[in-house]
């Protein structure tokens, strides 16, 4: 029943948003809260349609939590957008609900064909959300996103057609085990496009940079893990050392390139987008290493959890800067003085997302790095990527946060979502550290 609730509640909310526009905000907020509670009750669910193992459950809870936070932040952001909107506000909320629903569908299904259908649906819905503001840059970014993402998903569908031929089923749980390198390689490239893996990552900074912060948060914190989960479902049955090496190679290359690309960034949200790419690269290496040491997968999940909340917080605080200071550029704003709550949330979130101790992301990255020690070159490249991203992202954030400036007044709603995100990842980190001690 709870699984159906996760799908039907957002659909119902979307219909209500369109039919009774006045209720769009309340209905979306209620729907997201219902979904958060429903997601806590589906852990371990296994039936003909759904298979929710630990990884799927973690991703599902993340989807619903970020869905709630994004709707909460939308209450502030959508109201203060001054430019003409591409979509009417009621359609914006309807699509946010459908976006969450399609991601949940993809994460829950055991049939890989349906997993793919869910991901394809996320592209359709999110492309319309990216073009919230009516300007040429938004439309070009949406065009690039749909074209690259759909081409990637085309490759993924090709891999599933071959998967069906090789395994005789699309049910990843009962597919058995077959050393299918080509199937896995195509799935890695195909689903990897949605994960933001190099070389088909080019849509990611554009889409994240242009989308409203609430949508950027959902894209970064939940859509990328959903795509990684989809790849994982192909990776498990077709796993062999060659597939694992290939996965690690793509992961570490992505992390390294993303880390290097964070250095020259001049736009706030593009910086955070490259940071997402960096973390997804590290998580992909973790998935590859789980072929040799299954325990590494727990570190991947932990990394994704901390990344989701801290990255959502970063995008929300970025949104506050954009609306309050009317700029997308990274500058010496003196946020701590001018927007104290935003500045503090940004600093804490940046430290968490880059794996600074004592956050749980530090523990997760440490576990992945220690598992990579069997391949010294991988360890060297991965640790280089982690260090570069840490220094670069925190340097940019510190530049934005410290300095002089007059205080700017922002609505309480603007700081609510980032602060809740911070509380969640700080509590999770405390629990993880407490458990380790």
């Amino acid at each position: 029943m709870y699984a159906e609730m996760l799908l039907l509640t957002p659909i119902l909310a979307s219909i209500l948003c369109v039919v009774i526009p006045k209720t769009r905000e309340a209905v979306s907020l209620i729907s997201s809260i219902v979904c958060v509670f429903a997601s806590l009750h589906v852990i371990g669910l296994k039936n003909e349609w759904f298979y929710i193992d630990t990884f799927s459950a973690v991703v599902l809870i993340l989807i619903q939590s970020i869905y709630f936070l994004s709707v909460l932040y939308s209450l502030y952001f959508v109201r203060v957008v001054e430019k003409e909107l591409f979509l009417r506000r009621r359609y914006y909320y309807a699509l946010i609900n459908l976006f969450a629903m399609s991601m949940s569908f993809s994460a829950m299904c055991r049939n890989l064909g349906l997993v793919w259908v869910g991901l394809e649906a996320t592209t359709i819905v999110s492309a319309l959300l990216i073009v919230l503001e009516r300007n040429k840059a938004s439309i070009e970014a949406a065009w690039r996103y749909i074209l690259i993402a759909s081409s990637g998903l085309g490759i993924a569908l090709f891999s599933l057609i071959l998967f069906h031929r090789v395994f005789g089923t699309l049910d990843w749980v009962n597919a058995g085990s077959n050393k299918a390198l080509v199937v896995a390689a195509l799935a890695l490239i195909g689903f990897g496009t949605k994960v933001g893996l190099f070389p088909s990552h080019t849509w990611l900074p554009d889409a994240h940079g242009i989308a409203p912060p609430s949508v950027s948060a959902m894209l970064s914190a939940t859509l990328l893990p959903v795509a990684l989960l989809a790849y994982y479902k192909v990776f498990i049955p077709s796993c062999n050392p060659s597939v694992a090496y290939l996965t690690c190679f793509f992961g570490v290359t992505t992390a390294l390139i993303a880390a290097l690309l964070t250095i020259p960034q001049k736009k706030i949200k593009r910086l955070f987008a490259y940071s997402s790419m960096d973390v997804m690269g590290i998580a992909t290496v973790g998935v590859g290493l789980s072929a040799f040491n299954p325990a590494v997968l727990k570190a991947v999940m932990l990394l994704l959890v901390i990344h989701a909340f801290s990255k959502a917080s970063l995008f929300f605080t970025g949104g506050n800067v954009i609306t309050a200071l009317k700029t997308h550029d990274i500058e010496k704003f003196g946020l701590i003085n001018r927007l104290p709550a935003t500045g503090i949330a940004m600093i804490i979130s940046a430290l968490a997302v880059t794996g600074a101790p004592p956050f749980a992301s530090f523990v997760a990255e440490l576990i992945i790095l220690s598992a990579s020690l069997r391949f010294p070159a991988l360890t060297a490249l991965l640790s280089t990527a982690i260090v570069i991203a840490f220094l670069s992202i925190n340097y940019h954030v510190v530049r934005m946060c410290f300095g002089e400036g007059e205080k700017v007044k922002l609505s309480v709603l603007a700081d609510l979502a980032p602060l809740i995100s911070c509380v969640v990842f700080v509590v999770i980190s405390a629990v993880v550290l407490g458990g380790l001690m």
Partner: protein, 203 residues
């Protein structure tokens, strides 16, 4: 005999992809992809009858309706509106593109045969690569949209020839939906800002 006909139509489909690569006028490019979709629908009908699969027949009807008629008509209307589309596509080097397409086809064939020596599916695989090439190499949005339809045709072609995959109808519907969204974005963009041309697919 029937298998030979299906193979022959498959080769025709591949030729249409080369025609699209070689074409620098937008309107003939759209007409060619419509013909390609109809040829694919014929294969779907034949396979559907032989395999007794109703979903393949429905897919054939959808293919003709959406990619054979509806989307090409919408795109052609757009061509009429913006005079620029009627003329040559700017900036794409057609002769070298055809050579790249030929090399890609040979490489694709060799890779596919090396990986799956006994499995049918080399034609859709090559068609898919050519669709990908159209998207990457062509610079204007309408030509890229044509490339997307070639890719979609290749995927559905693969779905019915390689594995008789279940859920292929659903996949087809979602691919069509995305194609409609793509067409919608082009129309919206061109209404406000004129022709949509991207120098490269990198932000």
């Amino acid at each position: 005999m029937i298998e030979a006909i299906v193979q022959f139509i498959g080769v025709l489909i591949l030729l249409t992809a080369f025609e699209i690569l070689a074409q620098s006028y937008i309107r003939p490019m759209i007409n060619t992809v419509a013909i390609q979709s109809i040829l694919l629908a014929v294969i779907m009908v034949i396979t559907g009858i032989l395999e007794n699969r109703l979903d393949f027949i429905i897919l054939a009807v959808l293919t003709i309706a959406v990619r054979g008629i509806a989307i090409p008509e919408v795109l052609k209307k757009d061509v009429k509106k913006h005079g620029i589309w009627v003329y040559r596509e700017v900036g794409t080097r057609v002769p070298s593109l055809v050579i790249v397409g030929l090399i890609l086809s040979i490489v694709g064939y060799v890779i596919y045969r090396a990986a799956f020596s006994v499995m049918q599916g080399d034609l859709p695989f090559i068609l898919f690569l050519l669709g990908f090439l159209v998207i990457i190499a062509k610079k204007n949005a309408l030509a890229q949209m044509v490339g997307y339809i070639v890719e979609e045709n290749a995927l559905l072609y693969a779905g019915i020839t390689i594995s008789h995959m279940p859920l292929i109808l659903e996949a087809g519907i979602f691919l069509d939906l995305l194609a409609l969204v793509l067409a919608g974005v082009i129309l919206a963009a061109e209404k406000d800002y004129g022709v949509l041309e991207l120098e490269e697919l990198v932000g």
